[in-house]
Subunit: 436 residues, 2 copies
Amino acid sequence: MSEIIELARRARVASYALAEASRATKDAALRAMAAALRANTDAIVAANAKDVAAAREAGTPESTVDRLALDPARVDGMAAGLEQLAGLNDPVGEVVRGYTLPNGLELRQVRVPFGVVGIIYEARPNVTADAAGICLKSGNAVLLRGSSSAAASNVAIVAVLRDAAEASGLPADVVQGVPTDRAAVKELMQARGLVDVLIPRGGAGLIQTVVSESTVPVIETGVGNCHVYIDADADLDLGLEILLNSKVQRPSVCNAAESLLVHAAVADEFLARALPALAHAGVTVHGDPTVVAASKHLGGADGAAATADAAPVVANAAPVVAADEDDFGTEYNSLDLSAAVVGSLEDAVQHIRRYSSGHTDAIVTRSQAAARRFTQAVDSAAVVVNASTRFTDGGEYGFGAEIGISTQKLHARGPMGLPEMTSTKYVVTGEGQLRT
Amino acid sequence: MSEIIELARRARVASYALAEASRATKDAALRAMAAALRANTDAIVAANAKDVAAAREAGTPESTVDRLALDPARVDGMAAGLEQLAGLNDPVGEVVRGYTLPNGLELRQVRVPFGVVGIIYEARPNVTADAAGICLKSGNAVLLRGSSSAAASNVAIVAVLRDAAEASGLPADVVQGVPTDRAAVKELMQARGLVDVLIPRGGAGLIQTVVSESTVPVIETGVGNCHVYIDADADLDLGLEILLNSKVQRPSVCNAAESLLVHAAVADEFLARALPALAHAGVTVHGDPTVVAASKHLGGADGAAATADAAPVVANAAPVVAADEDDFGTEYNSLDLSAAVVGSLEDAVQHIRRYSSGHTDAIVTRSQAAARRFTQAVDSAAVVVNASTRFTDGGEYGFGAEIGISTQKLHARGPMGLPEMTSTKYVVTGEGQLRT
């Protein structure tokens, strides 16, 4: 038997005990895990230092090294996250619906854990504690397959979490690490029946691999090509604030805006203000011909923000460049923004249907009809009226915890909290009912 | 572009119009489709006669031919099913949850159609109308891939349904048939992004193929290795009635019982009554050594139902044979039943965890503690106390329609009605909220 199959079988056995654990037991384990992380901060930081040194030696970009690095404050943050989970309601046992059938059978649909969950994730080692905690609280045994670049950190964290779980009366195997070699992840993706759900967390490449190679059911997370559409009836001040917040408040994350659409009726006025503001914020705009023309107009002699040179729009600021077809489908995760002028709300909808990743798309408008039409026609996990795209997040939605943001339509869509980490079963109670 | 990709793209375009159609429009289309089926009964029955003749020529078993055959009454049944759908609530637009966030954002989670659904199914042509109706009512464009043995019937039915949909103001492409060749089904399974969900309906082989080869998300349906466990505290009269109803009322379906477990404390008494009753009903029992020994005892001189011969249990009735390991994992769909004696409720739970397909498992007991323990520990789509396994069904559960019974944990578990044919999206409405 391969190591992965063996790990998965142990997870299954542990999952039976965990599924029946009371909320009190699970919360005590989460608090014990938090305390153990704090108590073992030195060992965890020391293990992490090896990963950081290896990453630097391999020439890893410093931004990636920063995501990998742990210090006592970050370990404390992991512990605090586990304590926060202990304060949340237990989704297991919630009655989703229930009624009595005409024949007297009492039917209840009740939340139950999935059983065994696999998480495949990239560099950040804090995901190890977050994912373990969310799975434990929702009653799922977890197989954690982190990045090889964080291997030493993850081994140290998993060891601490397992000991704490066991000391709280749960099987240690409710949390297990998975070897980081490629063969192991392939086996994990083929462990249908042993692993109930796989959740990839990371870049588009990782998610694509898991989605196409896994026979285990997958919940796809986190690719966000998010749009902000400035309607003909938009309050343009509001539109500019929402656009800037959506784009620059944290450009590296999946709910940041990647594309601007502007209704032709307000394009001149809006772009005359937005392009300089974006440029000041360091955003490179990849514009369609209309947007590029508007930027040249601004850059020229009669532009409001005119400078001596034709381009860039603003001296010492980011330029407007011509978009190619690929730009509109690109999730930049950087200070880049594609931009196009559309002839109508319907054209905006068509554009979004064609290019959106179905994560979050926003309209800015004062028109009730336009808002209604946009929210009906745009089929994304989150459709936003007059607010920043950046709110699509389990914490912002009040879920208290988030395992990721689903961009698929099956099972869960949008931010996934604890209830989304469960399945249901029907419990049917009778007194001898027979089918006729 | 391949034909399947072209069909899927047309389905996507049609799905936009269908997603926005009012309940009134959809219900009118369902009623028009029902009327059109009735009006075209002769043409449908004539097309079906070709399929039936070809099946007989190919030496198809008469039971399969019966499932394939349509007559005016069966066509009328399809029409009545569509009319019944028109009377059900529209799941689209239902607000699943909604509240106002601390920052004033109004958040609503709303049911929306999946978009494009693919159904892959076997012989029975009435599934064509049922599946088309359920998809239409839930706002999904459907690609119907039926069996090649029902090709002429399905082409005729799809043509009638498309014409009626179009006459009602919906795009004809809300319902499309898919060629029955193997290349087409392979392409359908790879059409990720174009097809939102695939639902295989049929035998275990079909489902296994789709589950392992599809990159499109799949909802697995309908494999049922269902158990009836007779507890130490069971009312044995009730137990026998429930066992017989679960096994013989309709043995070919997925919610029929396939395995009997009896607590050792009541095994002698229960088997002494159950084995003759099962034999009389024509059920072949595949017993573990204890069950086989009990049957020999019955068959011997001092058995209550003793006969002149040592076996079978009852003269001219079905025998008790020794089970091999495979029997306990087998979904017979016939008048066969595996049977074992277990030492305890926990042993029954262990047995069910090992062998159950997670469809429906029942306990017969008067003990509240045993019922509670069984319903907690057994993780199946339906866990039943003191009633027949045969109730796991969308109609029996009051859903009004059923596309299948999900035996997976993701998205939907158990009978799937109209709400299970939808996804959700978050609609978030603000007045300029920005993320800080």
